[in-house]
């Protein structure tokens, strides 16, 4: 896909971008699996009874997970679009400023998304870890 690159973006930047794009794609696949798992985890029946506001808390987390899922889908589409733009621009051997700007912005968005995902994941782990029904 990127083999036709001759000029425009330097070899170093190109290598770095290709590596980053692949890493982003893998990260989104993993996040998608995590969201699916956490969604299943937020089921009221598996927790100790009599936890104050349990249903409300579970609903809040489910909502946050759904928002995260929507964001993940959106970012996946943006990556696809970026990949197409990247290949096209390289083929046309144009100047690299637009693709660089897009890449840098996408990097910021993905890093921010992954940070939110990690924070929410840990929050859910801590919350559910303490109230799971124990074996008695």
């Amino acid at each position: 896909m990127f083999d036709s690159a001759k000029k425009g973006i330097s070899k170093k930047t190109r290598g770095k971008y290709i590596s980053e794009i692949s890493k982003w794609e893998n990260s989104l696949i993993i996040v998608s699996e995590e969201i699916k798992f956490l969604g299943k985890l937020l089921s009221p029946g598996i927790f100790e009874p009599n936890i104050p506001n349990l249903n409300e808390r579970l609903q809040q987390y489910s909502k946050k997970l759904q928002d995260l899922k929507n964001e993940e889908i959106l970012l996946g589409k943006e990556i696809e679009k970026h990949k197409t733009g990247f290949a096209k621009e390289l083929e046309e051997e144009q100047k690299d400023s637009l693709i660089k700007r897009t890449h840098i912005q996408l990097r910021k968005n993905i890093n921010a998304f992954l940070k939110i995902n990690s924070g929410l994941k840990l929050e859910i782990f801590h919350f559910t870890g303490n109230i799971l029904k124990k074996s008695r």
């Binding site: 692949s22 299943k40 089921s43 799971l132």
Partner: protein, 147 residues
Amino acid sequence: METSHQNYKYVEWKSAEEMHFSSNQWISELNFIKDEHQFFEDMLKEYTLPIIESHLLSKVKNLIDRLTKYKQKAETLLNKTTEHKNGLQVMLDGIDQIEEENRYKNEHRKLLIDVNQFSLENNDLKKEIFETIAEALKQQKQKRLLS
């Protein structure tokens, strides 16, 4: 996209600043993985009743064993990465030490391979844990509906 091959080649082009950034990123990722491991271990050990009832005990024992090994691996990698990060001085002191600088770059390349490999294996383990717990949850739910 031949990413893994490009990853290793890419180290040749990395500046000292970029290597420092990567080391910090790996440290942060490994610390996060340690937190995750703790949660999975607690969950697999404490959520025992549904696991026993769903006949997944031997599978879970195997996962706990592997998790213990991965926890040690993460700790070792974290120590190596922290040590590597602290050794960056050789790239920044302005003195030409070709041999030392090459040694540092080789160490960085090896760490990159090790962290990537560990991350891949850890993701596979996580996936198995997700599937096993999800199966136990599913069976619990079915049991509740039937009772």
